[in-house]
Amino acid sequence: MERINLGSHHEDAAQFREQIRLESGVDERDCYQCGKCSAGCPVAFAMDYMPREIIRMLQLGLIDEVLSSHTIWLCSDCIACYTRCPRSVQLPQLMDALRIRAREKNLAAEKNIGMFGDLLLGLIKRFGRIFEMGLIITYNLKSRQPFKDVLLGPAILKRRKMGLLPHKIRSVDAVRKMFERVKEMESDTP
């Protein structure tokens, strides 16, 4: 009988896994598929693959399937899985690395979440802090749902819970430089 190599489904899979291990600090081979992560996952009901299955797919080399899954975006980073994992697999850190990769390869199943993150980091770089009103308005426009949550607007303003203008810290230059240095440092290391 011929042996089937379950790890070679995808040609570049080995290299991809190696890189994900470096970036996330997670070794997918640590997982023995007990399923405790998925039993306790609060978002499992909405996922297309259970967290356990994401790891299994990595083990099998189903890379594009993992990167185009909704699961990696629906993970809410609650860390219940890692807290309970008998093998200390840091699933949330793995999800972070996979989300970055999914966007790079243009496979992200939930585009708005990554876009929201970009907007948020852009505001931090510009003002040093998050300007919530600006964030929501830009997000609504960019995600083409201008009236999303608009009914909450008056209630928020009435309670004076959001300013209409950003608060810019005086030392915003230090923050901006930090962003730039991080970018340089990350492009230096392969």
Binding site: V43, L74, S76, A80, Y82, I100, I130, I169
Partner: protein, 289 residues
């Protein structure tokens, strides 16, 4: 007792009640909070989905400002607490990481300042006996469901209490004369931003938390995270609309309940600024004394 205080972005806007009540309660109990001048955003839930180094550098700049003052840091927001504490943890684990952080922020980071949640200041540093002694308006008969969410208690390396069955908030409730409710969802995730991106998912996650608190007979929910507050408080109206139901439960920061017990005025604490109005409940059970 003097600490460097990191409020975080939400406490300037949607979490304003947490800011007002944290400061008022600390002042009342003789805890001095020195707000880190020119603090910057910790990167919240998104920096780590973009860059590991950025997610450490953003909080570290604030920690350096505290270190220069020789102070440990207290954080109200659960998410900021987690990000700041994570920067300390990662820097202490690896000299290389510590140096990279320093390089990124353009100044030396020593990872000397400790990071504490606001809860720990009362339960571990000041001590709940002192809190109890200062109570002038005990919350007698008020049934409080303590909600911790995720980032105060997970991951265990960064947690300020037990991951599965934390008791700090219940102990505070008892110290101020209230009755803690035993319930099932105190460490279950509220879904964070899912209520915005995927309301079909987020609303369900919020709803089962609210439902369980009501089922176990809670009068209100007490929590320590502005993100959880947005979800559990602001979204109740939409969830009721979705379910064609009409059940509401007030949600308050634990510092608001402390402030009330210490005799502070609701307005001073921001209690009147929530979406689900807590005033009728408080008038009936607390303020008539």
């Amino acid at each position: 007792m003097r600490y460097a205080y990191y409020p975080g972005c939400s406490l300037e806007s949607t979490g304003i009640e947490y800011y007002l009540s944290s400061l008022a309660v600390a002042r009342k109990l003789g805890v001095e909070l020195w707000e880190i001048p020119e603090w910057n955003c910790c990167g919240a839930s998104f920096a780590h989905s973009s860059s590991y180094l950025l997610s450490l550098a953003l909080p570290a700049r604030n920690l350096v400002l505290a270190e220069k003052e020789g102070l440990d840091v207290v954080v109200s927001c659960a998410a900021c607490y987690s990000r700041l504490k994570n920067a300390v943890y990662e820097a202490r684990k690896s000299v290389e990481v510590k140096e990279k952080i320093g390089q990124a922020i353009g100044q030396e980071y020593r990872a000397q300042a400790e990071v504490y949640s606001m809860i720990e200041v009362f339960t571990n540093h000041l001590g709940l006996e002192k809190v109890a002694q200062a109570v002038v308006r005990p919350l007698e008969g008020l049934r409080v469901a303590s909600y911790y969410g995720c980032l105060l208690v997970r991951p265990p390396e960064l947690a300020m209490d037990d991951a599965e069955n934390p008791r700090s908030l219940e102990r505070i409730t008892m110290a101020i004369g209230g009755a803690p409710v035993e319930w099932n969802f105190k460490v279950e995730c509220c879904g964070a931003f899912h209520s915005t991106f995927r309301p079909d998912v987020g609303f369900q996650m919020i709803d089962r938390i609210l439902e369980d608190a009501l089922r176990e007979g809670a009068d209100c929910i007490a929590l320590a995270c502005p993100m959880c507050m947005m979800n559990l408080d602001m979204r109740q109206k939409d969830i009721n609309k979705m379910k064609k139901s009409n059940s509401y439960i007030p949600v308050l920061y634990f510092t608001e309940l402390m402030g009330l017990a210490l005799g502070l005025a609701p307005k001073e604490l921001g209690v009147n600024r929530h979406f689900v109005n807590a005033m009728p409940l408080l008038k009936k059970k607390v303020l008539q004394q």
